[in-house]
Amino acid sequence: MQFDLIRRDRASISMALLAPLLALLATGLVSWAIFAAIGTPAGLALWTMAASPFTNWYDFSEVLLKMAPLLLIAQGLAIGFRARVFNIGAEGQLILGAIFASALPVWFPGATSPLLWPAMMVAGMAGGAFWAGIAAFWRTRLNANEILVTLMLSLIAVQVLNWLLLGPWKDPAGFNFPQTAMFQAQALLPGLLPGTRVNIALLFASVASVAAYILMQRGVAGYRLVVTGTAPRAAGYAGFSAARGVWLSLLISGAAAGLAGAAEVAGPLGQLQRSVSQGYGFAAIIVAYLGGLHPLGIVVSSLVMSALYIGGDNAAVFADLPQAAVRVVQGLLLTFYLIAATLVRYRIVRARVAPA
């Protein structure tokens, strides 16, 4: 059957709210079929994945722990995406942030200043912004596509991390594992909820969400930023520089990702490891889109996405579901959402037969 997409006069708000739900529903159905096909108890696996993170306090606190980096990175990325600056290298910016932050405890293992962890957070933001800034320079001065540059920089960051952990920064007492020594207590973030691993990174992410909301939904600066991306000519006539929009988008998203990396090494990890990211940089892209690139939507989607990780871990234990299933669900969720989100701006109509 032929069909056409007709642009709506205005975006459909009900469709915007319905799209993530439709995507979740379709993802659930297809995941169920796939899990059943590989011979796992699909119903149990799905139920564990979806519900278990919310049924006990410990699991929910782990969800909150995972939510902090995803929320932080996604808020930063969404600002850029709305300005049509596609930073897909948050993974690398996170790694650079983690490296910059780790430099302090690695170089000064005897430091006991209470300002150590705040300094690490600042260093992490600087590291992420630096890595994203390279892409901004390449785009504004050399006219190079930021999608490809941020992606390449991510892959380079992984190699830099490997080199540090296998070489100069390797813990001499660490049985040759590619990781640094454990950091001193002053290098660790204060806890937020007693009895859990949740730390004040969640507070950073909340502040970032409020800031993103004010910037993008209330302020003039955010509006300008969006205009530089969506209507560069109009922005030019109005005197907003497109280059400034690119710099701002990349520096904000890079700093946010860098902070997330710093908070990982100063939080749950307590050292710099090869697996510092666990794919948060890419997962945050899913979070940003799933939240409709809206600061409030992203709060919800980051909660859903983090619950998926914890639920996936539980399903691995209780339903023998392979860990990789989480990736399958993530990929399906974004694919279905992208399809459903089209209906926010377009109507589907049956195509009329074209005159021959």
């Binding site: 897909i88 190079a144 596509n145 999608i147 992606l151 190699q159 990789a324 990929g331 974004l334 992208l338």
Partner: protein, 303 residues
């Protein structure tokens, strides 16, 4: 075997998965579509080909299965991108995560198992040459991939199909206006690109290192994406780049084995670094940019 001979002998086989996947991505990008899911499509092709090879022992069948798996994955990407005009970057990353996850899911019972590789072809006289002999002794897939590169270069230059693909990538509105079926051509290119990525994965998992391990594609798909840019969307340059990056990956092994004072990570990062430099070189001059890249890359097309 001297390090030079070792590098020469290993380069083409190491380059083959990169070459196949990069040729596939080249066709996709030439039609104006950016598919960032190559890593995932390769992984899925690798897993499916390995499973088929493990159960049947047939390599031809394994390659067909790998290609079909890559193609199937690519079609998952084609639906949101072509039918629903979704953001190609997001859809490509979604495909990469999804197909990578599926490869791990399907491959789990086969973790660390091995299959029999296909034999290398001894060419009389040439294979006995000093130094170059090792380079000229390759399996059939290596030669077929190089032939594919030559065929594609010819197709883009001299066939109606090649010109139609280029027209669709450069100016889809104009191509549509003269009756070229833009979306159908893009769909075919995406499917073809997926098939080649699947073949590249199949080669990696059943011939180059004939064993299955989750994550065995190890960034080759990203190198393939980089290669297309590195080769400025020209088939010949992409093929040369694949061979160069193949040599680099063998060089990494040599460096590790001989303990030369270059960190192997520096060599591993070199393809990406080179791509960033090439991007700067071709993009900074706007005229050269127009000449060398695909004008409508990443833009959805709707009537």
């Amino acid at each position: 075997m001297s390090p030079l001979e070792f590098i020469l002998a290993g380069t083409l086989a190491a380059a083959t998965p990169l070459l196949l996947a990069a040729l596939g991505e080249l066709v996709v990008e030439r039609s104006g579509v950016l598919n960032l899911g190559v890593e995932g499509m390769m992984a899925l092709g690798a897993a499916v080909a390995f499973i088929v090879s493990y159960h049947t022992g047939g390599h031809a069948l394994a390659f067909v299965a790998g290609a079909l798996a890559g193609m199937g994955a690519a079609l998952i990407f084609a639906v949101p991108v072509l039918m629903f005009r979704a953001n190609q970057v997001a859809a490509g990353l979604a495909l990469g995560i999804l197909a990578g996850g599926l490869s791990a899911l399907f491959g789990r019972p086969y973790e660390s198992l091995t299959v029999r590789a296909i034999p290398k072809i001894e060419i009389p006289l040439l294979s006995d040459l000093p130094i170059l002999g090792g380079m000229l002794t390759q399996d059939g897939v290596v030669w077929a991939s190089l032939a594919m590169a030559a065929l594609m270069a010819w197709a883009f230059r001299s066939t109606r199909l090649g010109w139609r693909i280029r027209a669709v990538g450069e100016n889809p509105a104009a191509a549509h206006a003269i009756g070229t079926p833009v979306l159908a051509i893009r769909a075919a290119c995406i499917a073809f690109g997926g098939a080649l990525a699947g073949l590249g994965g199949a080669y990696a998992a059943t011939v180059y290192t004939p064993l299955w391990a989750d994550g065995m594609i190890a960034g080759r798909g990203w190198i393939a994406v980089a290669l297309v840019v590195f080769g400025t969307w020209q088939t010949g340059r992409v093929a040369m780049g694949a061979i160069l990056f193949g040599a680099l990956s063998i060089g990494e092994l040599v460096v590790q084995a001989t303990g030369i004072a270059i960190p192997s990570q520096a060599l591993a990062a070199l393809p990406y670094l080179a791509t960033i430099v090439v991007l700067a070189l071709i993009s900074s001059n706007r005229a050269r940019m127009r000449l060398n890249s695909v004008a409508s890359l990443g833009e959805p097309f709707g009537r």
